[in-house]
Structure formats: structure tokens, C-alpha cells
Symmetry: C2
Subunit: 135 residues, 2 copies
């Protein structure tokens, strides 16, 4: 058994990101790695994530470099896309309108702790790989 | 719709880690976050990962803090476990025997680029959450 690995083009990587809705956001504030599973939306070359006010995610992601990974792993075929960029909290009305137009819901919709803070990742680099198992 | 979130105990978190085989390893070398999807094995409170010699994963993970995340997300029920610790490359024969006893296979078994370097994560902290959707 072996495996063919091919690089995805940037367009293929974005197409894959558009099809999925859960990823993992990694941060490195003060050289301390953190990783968070998040719901996301990909739109116009940016990644949107919602979080709760004061969350650790918001604290460590803001104004820092982030890495973001989405994968789908099956027995015959797997995909993984990794994005690098920087995250910011959206504060301007027009940015928030953009973000809300993505229709992003979060897995954890909780009326007691609404995730009404929007993070936007401006992407500097995207890379993806496709793995195909061959006999 | 709302969601009940409960913290997993440390034992429940390790039980979950023992049932899965793919996670994401995040590093923060030089405050540059990186994230890698990896096959892993959990054994005796440690996490084992295989990689290829000279890989970027080996380079940035070694002797540094890492965060490692495993999740399973379904429509009704979701789990996520995050581990913090430090990674090292195994060099001593007895450590390698321990590692090989885990039986860990990698998704990408490639004879041209064998993943014969073992990383071991010594875990300092483990936390897990269970999400249950309720009507």
C-alpha cells in the first residue's frame, strides 16, 4: 500500500474550506501554543470565527499570527488545508455586516453566553494536500 | 435549541484520546504558530506521533511546548480534548521500543519517505469537554 500526495492549488484549497464548517485555530501568544476547535465560515479569501466576549480564544488570537487547519480524513481519500494569517476582532459596523452575511452558526449556541464577538482572519498563506490511497 | 457543556474528567479525557487516532499538533516556535494533522497513539499518559526525519513538524516541535487537540463532532453530541505538554524526539532504544509497542500506523505510509522519527509528548495538562444538544 502506498499513498499519492498532491498539493492543492490555492483555488482548490479555498473550495475545500468553503465546503467544511469546523476547523482548529492555533495561536502562539508569548510562545505558548493554544489550539481551539471552532466553527467557521470562509468568504472572499477570509476566515470568520465567532466567540464569546472575554474568551481565551479572543484574548490570544487578537493582533497575533494564527494558523488554522481544516481536514477531512477518510479511509481512501483525505484532505488537509492549513491557513496562516492574522486575526482581528471586528468592531466597525460594515465589517460586522459582512461577517453576519456569512450566516455562520456556532456549534455552541448558548443564550447565557452568546458568541457575539467576531474574529476575522486575514490570510497570508494557504496550502492544502490531497492524499489518495493506491493499491 | 441550547447546548449542555460539561467538563470531562481527566480519566474521561484519556479514555477519549484512546479511542481516536487523528489529532492536530500546534507549536509556537519563535511565536510563529504552526498546526499539523497527525496520526497518534495515546499510551500511559503520553502521546506518540511519528514523523519523517527533517520534517518541519520535528523541527518546530522539539524541545518546545505543544498543544494537541482531538475532537469528534456530531449533530447531537461532540467531544473535544486538548492536551498541553512538551515534545521530544525519542533516541534511546528503550523509549523506541515503548513507542513501537503502541502499534501506531500513519495515514501516510510512504516507502520513499518513511516516518521513522518518533515524537513523544509529555503531558502537563489535559482538559476535555462534552457538548450535548438539548431541545
Amino acid at each position: 500500500m502506498s499513498l499519492n500526495v498532491t498539493e492543492l492549488t490555492e483555488a482548490e484549497s479555498w473550495e475545500f474550506l468553503g465546503l467544511q464548517d469546523v476547523g482548529r485555530l492555533a495561536t502562539a501568544a508569548a510562545s505558548e501554543p493554544e489550539i481551539f476547535p471552532v466553527n467557521y465560515a470562509a468568504s472572499n479569501g477570509r476566515i470568520f470565527v465567532r466567540t464569546a466576549p472575554g474568551s481565551k480564544l479572543a484574548e490570544v488570537a487578537v493582533n497575533g499570527k494564527v494558523a488554522f487547519e481544516v481536514d477531512q480524513l477518510g479511509p481512501e481519500l483525505a484532505y488537509s488545508v492549513v491557513v496562516k494569517g492574522s486575526a482581528e476582532i471586528l468592531e466597525h459596523d460594515d465589517d460586522l455586516v459582512d461577517a453576519e452575511h456569512t450566516g455562520l452558526m456556532t456549534y455552541q449556541e448558548n443564550e447565557d453566553a452568546p458568541k457575539n464577538v467576531w474574529l476575522r482572519i486575514s490570510v497570508s498563506e494557504v496550502s492544502g494536500r490531497r492524499f489518495v490511497r493506491v493499491a
